[in-house]
């Protein structure tokens, strides 16, 4: 009975015409479009220009112009002293980068993908993240570790893992993950300026995507604060959290849900550590329902942390169990159909949101 009543209330709200508040509308009318690749490249260029202590290091970042062309043109502009091609020795060159940061330089170390960061993870965690604490503030480590993270297309199990939850569990690190060009520019600039070690998780499939950016975003002083999530789309029925590529999927899911009268609030986390718990909780207190979305493995993932945080802080506000959408709990398969099943799709997010809204069961069946 109660279920039918609830359906009716939601059905009534379906009648109201609600303007979709989209981020796109808030930009200036003369919006330029740039790709995420261009955004990252311009951010690196500007920060290197502004601060002579910033330098780049990684495989193929120089003469090859970057494995994914993110560092294109920077070797020509800044010279081989500041754009350094390294041998394929992650443990060695990451340690060298951290040592340079100990001395006060500001390295930006590129991992061709974050899968290879596992070879250097001791330096990221034990040499970089913990040093400021162990030295009681004497040794700070202003380093950025950046590169593509998560699944690409057809690259198989060893080249597809998402490292957000691994790095974000470690105190002393800051972990950022941009979605669009504005995020890419603002967060990378903030990361380079930040005096702490930052893990900057990009997405290969987003590099070529274009997004509109305002003049403010294009300004060389533009910076996004670390630790603040962004509400990409306002809503009132269910909160969907996501980061990186999944933000795009969540936004598309929100459009589909809107047709059913479910208005989803999409939060772009931007910062995995520090996690913007207050924005997430404020949103859940408004919508009373939560779906977390991530590409990575589900167990001990980002969604698990968000779910725990919301249960701790906003339990009384939850009207439904928290839903988690994540990558499948298997190593990434190669075959295209299996790969599709191993990564969240838009319909998965839609389905989970409907479940959270108790709308997944057709009206006839609820009695």
């Amino acid at each position: 009975m109660l279920a039918i009543a609830r359906q009716r209330i939601l059905g009534q709200s379906f009648q109201k015409i609600r303007p979709a508040v989209s981020v796109l509308r808030s930009y200036s009318s003369a919006a330029k479009q740039i790709t995420v690749r261009e955004a990252l490249n311009s951010a690196l260029d500007e920060e290197m220009s502004a601060d002579p202590k910033v330098f780049l290091m990684g495989e193929e970042v120089g003469e090859y112009q970057g494995a994914y062309k993110i560092t294109k043109g920077l070797l020509e502009k800044y010279g081989p002293e500041r754009v350094l091609d390294t041998p394929i020795t992650e443990a060695g060159f990451t340690g060298i980068g951290v040592g340079a940061a100990y001395y006060g330089l500001k390295p930006v170390v590129e991992f061709m993908t974050f899968n290879f960061s596992m070879q250097a993870i001791d330096h990221i965690i034990n040499s970089a993240a913990k040093s400021n604490y162990m030295s009681a503030g004497q040794i700070s480590v202003p380093i950025v570790f950046r590169g593509p993270n998560g699944a690409a297309a057809g690259v198989g199990a060893q080249h597809s893992q998402c490292y957000a939850s691994w790095y974000a569990s470690c105190p002393g690190l800051k972990v950022l993950s941009p979605y669009n060009s504005e995020d890419a520019r603002g967060l990378l600039k903030a990361a380079i300026r930040d005096p702490d070690p930052v893990v900057f998780l990009e997405n290969e499939l987003l590099y070529g995507e274009s997004f509109p950016v305002s003049d403010e975003v294009l300004d060389s002083s533009f910076c996004i604060p670390i630790g603040k999530a962004k509400i990409e789309r306002e809503g009132k029925d269910v909160t969907i959290t996501a980061f990186s590529k999944m933000v795009g999927y969540a936004l598309k899911a929100a459009e589909i849900l809107e047709k059913d009268g479910i208005y989803a609030e999409v939060i772009n986390l931007r910062s995995i550590r520090p996690l913007d718990r207050s924005t997430i909780n404020a949103s859940v207190r408004k919508t009373n329902r939560l779906v977390t979305v991530e590409e990575g493995f589900p167990q001990h993932g980002v969604g698990a942390e968000i779910c725990a945080s919301v249960v701790e802080e906003s339990f009384a506000y939850l009207d439904a169990p928290v839903e988690r959408i994540a990558g499948a709990d298997v190593p990434m398969p190669y075959a295209a159909n299996l790969e599709r099943m191993a990564v969240p799709q838009i319909e998965d997010i839609v389905r989970a949101a409907r479940r959270a809204c108790y709308r997944s069961v057709p009206l006839a069946a609820a009695a």
Partner: protein, 434 residues
């Protein structure tokens, strides 16, 4: 299986030099020039290889009988190292070294202080005032002291976890050491680091690292930064014979050689990686050669003058030619750490043998006494002074308070952004990181 001591003897000449093998050459001296002694002149001419050799000669007998003030005399003394250096891909430096009474006595005092400090730490650990790990350096003092004598504070040093004495050599105080070991506020890391995490950034001492081998790429990174900043200084990255097999070491050396970084990799070969002797861990224990394309030098690490000479040579080399490896042949009297008795994998005879034949402090004591730079009593007084300093520092450290509870949450970040952090029960203990 050869014992350590016999292996060492087989590869080295005896280290005892009768007095006629050295020369007392006086230059820039304020003493009136005396008539030269012909025998001494001949002996001197054999060793006057340095361009600084003066023409003022003093008869040996009058030199010995002169009572000079012990702590400030900087009159140069020329000596030889215990054994010549063995070189790989480079010209070994001369085994003739310049020193002075002042320097030798400073070496003696510094090493005696370090020795006393480490032995006191042993007692504190057994009294459970020091917890966790405690890796002691007694026996290896000559490496820390000799290296420091060759460097300036602009040069960087980074080492692993056996770092108490290296920290002291870089200007740390006894109170900072003991307070840190006991987890007190006055510790060099305010009690938050512990034995393995001593740092002194204002003296370019970068720790203090618990992960075996990690400090070598970090050290090459420091050298990179020095070159990048055009500081005309070098980095000494210390590691043990156990760490010498780490892959990241070769990765860092490769990059350092490619990029011509002023990095000196110093293998403190005390012949045991924890409980594993070097011949069981390394197919090639000639660590000074393992740089392959990078030059190397094998040094008697128990001879502080040899260490100083080698480090001076290495610094000059690295500034011009890129990385070089120094292998310091040294020995630790204690086990790997306080949890290791140190006698299950080596004989007590070996330990006492090294202590009798090669102890770095005894070597300097003999040199000082045989050159009449101080009396036995004066040296004993120095040791008493040093003992008192250590005891006073321990007493002070014992009185020092433990860190405030709020310190649990400080320095997680350099810039905390007002973010929240949590204690074990997050509903009970939360903090905002500044």
């Amino acid at each position: 299986m050869p014992t350590l001591l016999s292996a060492w003897f087989n590869s080295h000449q005896p280290n005892l030099h009768p007095p006629s093998f050295y020369s007392l050459s006086l230059f820039r001296s304020s003493h009136p020039p005396p008539s030269p002694n012909p025998t001494l002149a001949m002996a001197l001419s054999r060793f006057a290889s340095s361009s600084r050799s003066g023409s003022l000669l003093k008869p040996l007998s009058s030199a010995i009988s002169l009572r000079r003030p012990i702590s400030t005399d900087t009159t140069p003394i020329t000596l030889e190292t215990s054994v010549p250096f063995t070189a790989h891909q480079c010209e070994a430096p001369s085994r003739t070294v310049q020193t002075s009474a002042n320097e030798l006595l400073t070496f003696f005092r510094d090493m005696a202080l370090m020795r006393r400090m480490e032995i006191a730490a042993d007692s504190l650990y057994k009294a459970k005032l020091i917890r966790g790990f405690c890796h002691l350096y007694d026996g290896q003092e000559a490496v820390a002291v000799g290296m420091e004598a060759a460097l300036t504070k602009k040069d960087c040093i980074i080492t692993a976890y056996r770092d108490h004495c290296t920290f002291m050599a870089r200007g740390g105080t006894l109170l900072e050491v003991f307070a840190e070991l006991m987890g007190r506020q006055a510790g060099c890391s305010r009690g938050k680091g512990g034995s393995m995490h001593f740092y002194k950034k204002d003296s370019n001492f970068y720790g203090g690292h618990g992960i075996v081998g990690a400090q070598v790429p970090l050290g090459c990174g420091l050298a990179f930064a020095q070159k990048y900043s055009k500081d005309e200084a070098v980095t000494f990255a210390l590691y043990g014979d156990g760490a010498a097999n780490q892959g990241q070491l070769f990765e860092a050396l490769n990059i350092s050689a490619l990029w011509d970084l002023p990095a000196i990799l110093v293998c403190e070969n005390n012949h045991y990686g924890m409980g594993t002797a070097e011949w069981r861990a390394a197919k090639s224990p000639a660590y000074y050669k393992r740089g392959d394309y990078a030059p190397g030098l094998k040094v008697d690490g128990m001879d502080v003058l040899a260490v100083k000479q080698a480090c001076t040579f290495a610094k000059e080399h690295a500034l011009k030619n890129g990385p070089i490896i120094l292998e310091m042949d040294t020995y630790r009297y204690h086990g790997h750490s306080m949890s290791d008795p140190g006698s299950t994998y080596r004989t007590r005879d070996e330990i006492t043998g090294v202590r009798q034949e090669r102890d770095p402090i005894e070597r300097i004591r003999k040199l000082i006494l045989s050159h009449d730079l101080a009396t036995e009593k004066e040296l004993k007084d120095i040791e008493k002074e040093v003992r008192k300093e250590v005891d006073d520092a321990i007493a002070q450290a014992k009185e020092n308070p433990v860190p405030e509870s709020s310190e649990l949450f400080t320095n997680v970040y350099a810039k905390g952004l007002g973010v929240e952090s949590f204690g074990a029960d997050r509903k009970e203990v939360r903090a905002t990181l500044p």
